[in-house]
């Protein structure tokens, strides 16, 4: 620990016995969790916090990209690396501070944003929350911390979001696709790999957006980014051009490339994607456009390494989320915060048998004999 250190900031995963934490206490440094520090920095700025079980990294990165392109010189912290943003965080001279607001460890309760978004609310992080009701209460607390003169943007179709904003002081605006909403996206068409759609605000036509990211869920994410940018005073033509040039965050349906097959170079290329999805809703949302638009006649191989798959009660739901894959390959399960007791039943072989029973699909793992005979 360098002498003169005043504040030590640590992630929620670092415990009090970590050598640097011990040194920090000995040196009488102020010790803050990352989320506490984030809240402290946000209090100096005009905060924008984007929360939700899914889509928060992409939407935060897209919002930061639009504000950057519009010359707002924002600061931001995104929970994913984004090549276009030059990494995942930036300190700008502008007033705006955009952050990805995470519900784990109730981190987002440290924030007091001016604009807050809840993209959706579902069961996740069940190692930390007791059940869905507790998660909704946690989101309600986050949304309740939005500046009373600010705005909360929530999904128009998610009943959990509607519950979470019931008692908040800030103005509430909804977003949705082809449904009644304050921010309404309609008429999605796919052309040359891009989604083209119209956006209206409180019934007034704002204009068209073109988005290069796959999946219907990303149309919703872009609508939220456009809504936030509008509230920050960005002109619609600037929003349009910035959204169209956004290429996504790393590991979010990231296209690694299309490569000539080594043995059949004159034939169709092999397409390789990488995605962070580890929740059934995310996996389904990512695989659905793959199945309908990209894969033509070939088979797909998917590997899942996930922590919450360890929960036996979730296996069937997980298995169904891979229905759009022709072949699923499951390596050993990746553990983050699970206990020893959670780990035992999650052997990939057993997971595969649930997949096969549930979806009737071809699923394999390296330790299974089936792996050899596909």
């Amino acid at each position: 620990m360098p002498p003169g250190t005043e504040i030590v900031v640590h992630s929620a995963a670092i415990g009090p016995q970590h050598p640097e934490m011990v040194a920090a206490r000995l040196q009488r440094c102020e010790i803050l969790k990352y989320a506490q520090m984030l809240g402290r920095v946000m209090s100096l700025k005009h905060g924008i916090a984007i929360a939700g079980t899914h889509g928060k990294s992409t939407t935060t990165a897209m919002t930061a990209h639009v504000l950057l392109a519009a010359g707002k010189d924002p600061s931001y912290v995104v929970g994913a690396t984004c090549a276009q943003l030059g990494g995942s965080a930036r300190s700008g001279a502008g007033e705006l501070f955009v952050v990805e607001a995470c519900e784990y460890d109730r981190s987002f309760h440290n924030l007091r944003p001016h604009i807050g978004a809840a993209l959706n609310i579902e069961e996740d992080h069940l190692d930390y929350y007791k059940d869905l009701n507790e998660i909704i209460e946690s989101f309600a607390h986050f949304l309740g911390r939005i500046d009373p003169n600010g705005v909360a943007i929530i999904s128009a179709i998610d009943p959990n979001c509607a519950t979470a904003v019931k008692n908040i002081e800030a103005r509430v605006e909804t977003y949705g696709i082809d449904v009644a909403a304050d921010w309404q996206a309609t008429g999605i068409r796919r052309y040359q790999g891009k989604a083209h759609f119209q956006v209206a605000y409180k019934g007034k036509k704002m204009g068209r957006l073109v988005l290069a990211l796959p999946g219907r869920h990303n149309v919703g994410n872009a609508t939220v980014a456009a809504a936030i940018a509008t509230h920050c005073g960005v002109a619609w033509d600037q929003i349009q051009s910035a959204i169209e040039t956004f290429r996504g965050a790393d590991r979010r349906s990231q296209l690694l490339g299309q490569f000539p097959h080594p043995e059949f170079p004159g034939d169709l290329p092999v397409t390789i994607l990488d995605d962070y999805g580890h929740h059934p809703t995310e996996i389904r949302a990512t695989l659905l456009p793959c199945a309908s638009t990209i894969a033509r006649g070939g088979w797909c191989a998917f590997f899942s390494r996930t922590s919450i798959a360890a929960r036996a009660s979730c296996w069937t739901i997980f298995a169904r989320s891979f229905l759009h894959a022709d072949i699923t390959i499951v390596p050993d399960i990746y553990f983050v915060r699970d206990s020893e007791a959670d780990r035992r039943p999650s052997a990939p072989r057993r997971w595969c048998s649930v997949c096969r029973r549930t979806g009737g699909m071809r699923c394999t793992c390296p330790r299974s004999r089936r792996f050899r005979i596909i």
Binding site: L256, H261, P265, T271, I272, G297, A301, Y334, I374
Partner: protein
């Protein structure tokens, strides 16, 4: 990481033109496709 290597070997042996290969999940599963891209490029150049 023998397990990931086995998956890469399997894919190199079995993939066909037009296939879509997705690595999905939290954790280091991205290493599978990262290395696979390198191997496909290497095999194409050979």
């Amino acid at each position: 990481m023998p397990t990931f290597k086995e998956i890469q070997d399997h894919l190199m042996d079995h993939m066909l033109p037009g296939d879509l290969i997705v690595s999905m999940g939290a954790g280091p599963v991205w290493e599978v496709t990262d290395e696979l891209v390198r191997r496909i490029r290497g095999a194409g150049a050979a």
